[in-house]
């Protein structure tokens, strides 16, 4: 078990290192000059002012120092939690802007990911070996997984929001309200939360159902199932064993899908103008706010790494082979 976690942590540590390095490299080695584009964006025509701004931004990135020193400084600032100053909402620090958005993204993602995983697995397990159910779950599942996240979001917003008028289609809460801990505000918050949650939940649902269905069919055809039924074990018992075995790849699958799920949440937030990280990224891109964009990138990477680690812990709890130090979870 110690070796299992040691290996995992090594991978995550290296991943973090690679991510930080990418984050540092991209502005410096991509074609194009971020400093001139930022100066150009300010639209100053006075040559003296342009020169001052250029010097300021160059100093901000530290472009005038040798490369290795820039890299060391970058790490130093990062470890102190310093992501720079946002240009979009100047002069708020980037970390503060992101911290304001993270709760919305987490509040959207955590319930939708967990619920779609649970419900998807349940539906898939039911569908396996039940022809009638299988014939409905499977096509619906394929259509859902093939859908781009933002399209289902747009469809829901249009159908339930604009046409039916049941749910609001933009924002995290009504503009007339101030964030507070009153019943009115919480109800409003939930009201705005339903549609983005529903669209994230639905798109992810299909993939889990299909995966579980296929795994259960595979397990029910394996030797131990045949042996159990030859012994006369009740079908319920065999199915329970099959489910326990089939759930393991689904847990690994959840870890593998995290990146896709985050991407889905980002575009869904953009559709609903939901004030999470996705909308922040859109604003950062529209305003050429590179510090904000890179800060958000670091937060997403950190979040995904932490989520991966939590899934690893769950895996150890669910799969006894990893605890015994056997070759259970090589993944």
């Amino acid at each position: 078990m110690r070796q299992y976690f040691g290996r995992k942590l090594l991978v995550y540590g290296l991943t973090f290192f690679v991510a930080v390095t990418i984050n540092w490299m991209v502005p410096r080695f991509m074609p194009g000059d971020p400093v001139s584009s930022m100066v150009a964006r300010a639209g100053v025509s006075n040559p003296g002012a342009v020169e001052t701004m250029r010097a300021y931004y160059t100093g901000l990135f530290g472009f005038d120092q040798p490369l290795w020193k820039q890299y060391a400084n970058f790490w130093g600032a990062l470890l102190q939690g310093d992501f720079g100053i946002s240009i979009w909402v100047f002069p708020t620090p980037v970390s503060e802007v992101i911290m304001g958005a993270v709760p919305y993204t987490l509040g959207l993602m955590v319930p939708s990911v967990l619920l779609s995983w649970v419900v998807g697995n349940w539906a898939g397990a039911l569908a396996a070996r039940r022809r009638l159910l299988d014939n409905t779950v499977l096509p619906v599942g394929y259509v859902l997984t093939a859908m781009p996240y933002m399209w289902l979001a747009v469809l829901l917003a249009w159908g339930l929001g604009v046409v039916a008028g049941v749910f609001p289609v933009a924002g995290g809460y009504s503009f007339s309200l101030q964030p507070s801990l009153s019943w009115e505000f919480v109800a409003d918050l939930l009201h705005h939360w339903v549609l983005p949650f529903l669209s994230l939940f639905l798109v992810a649902l299909g993939g889990w159902a299909i995966g579980m269905r296929n795994m259960i069919i595979y397990e029910l055809e394996s030797d131990y199932s045949t042996y159990l039924s030859a012994l006369g074990a009740p079908q319920r018992l065999i199915r329970r064993y099959a489910f326990r075995n089939a759930v393991l790849p689904q847990i690994t699958g959840l870890a593998l899908q995290l990146g896709v799920l985050v991407a889905g949440a980002l575009v869904t937030e953009i559709v609903f103008s939901y004030p999470g990280l996705g909308s922040l990224i859109l604003k950062a891109i529209q305003n050429q706010d590179f510090f904000l964009l890179q800060g958000t990138f670091m937060f997403i990477v950190l979040g995904v790494l932490i989520a991966n680690f939590i899934i690893d812990i769950v895996y150890v709890v669910v799969d006894p082979r990893t605890r015994a130090g056997m070759a259970g979870a090589q993944a």
Partner: protein, 298 residues
Amino acid sequence: MTAIQETPATGAAAGAGVRREALYFAVRNGKLLAGFGIVLALFLLGFAGPALLEAADPNAYGTTPMSPPSGEHWFGTTTFGQDVFSQFVHGLRTTFIVGALGGGIAAVIAMAVGFTAGYRGGLVDEVLTMLTNIVLVIPTLAVLLIINAYLGVRSVPAQALFIGLTSWPWAARAIRAQTFSLRTRDFVALARLSGSSTRKIIMREIAPNMSSYLFMTFILLFGGSILIASSLDFIGLGPTEGISLGLMLQNANQWSAMQLGMWWWFLPPGAGITAVVGALYVANVGLDEVFNPKLRET
């Protein structure tokens, strides 16, 4: 001597037999035919359509903005009078290009990494597996976001290239596992004994034995590339010139097509992506049934 000479001959005959059997089941598999049929129809529309349309530039502004579908504009027009059908057809072409290029690049990297790691084993395997795991954990879209944000001019091939460079790990891992199980088989050992080079063993002995698996992996990578590209386009980091289905969705969202009730603007592009990717997935299930006798419906 004769035995050795005969082996390739019977091998080839057996290969042809397997192929004929696969074809026999392929033309009788509804999922496969329907899936590939839809993909082929959309492919033809995307590649032949633009030539048949009169308007050369799908983004050209027209004189009748915001009009619903009619005989003149099959899918209606946008706020700027652009013909949605023309954009859709051109966007389909972009979608197929991104899928083929991105999926192709990812498949090549995945095969190179997967075969090498699985066949060589040892330290090479350790290093490649570590690399695969690292790229696997990094959220792909986030990396693509910052790369594309710093790229001033973005083109479709560049987008496909970066998608290909980041989306290969799961496939590499799957191919590695398959190679791992194949490399201890007798026929591989025989090839090694007869002095074939590693490269030749991989190309001649291992790859053909999992060709169906490789093809299905490519299909999944193809569909995945399309979905990633559409997300990138939607966030506003799509190609700076031309049109794609994702860009159409982005434009529709940006100019409040939803609030204005212009359903003809945002329905077709999303339906196009869903149809291409969904049909590919269904065809993949069909292929699985063709190649795997256990899954065939009797």
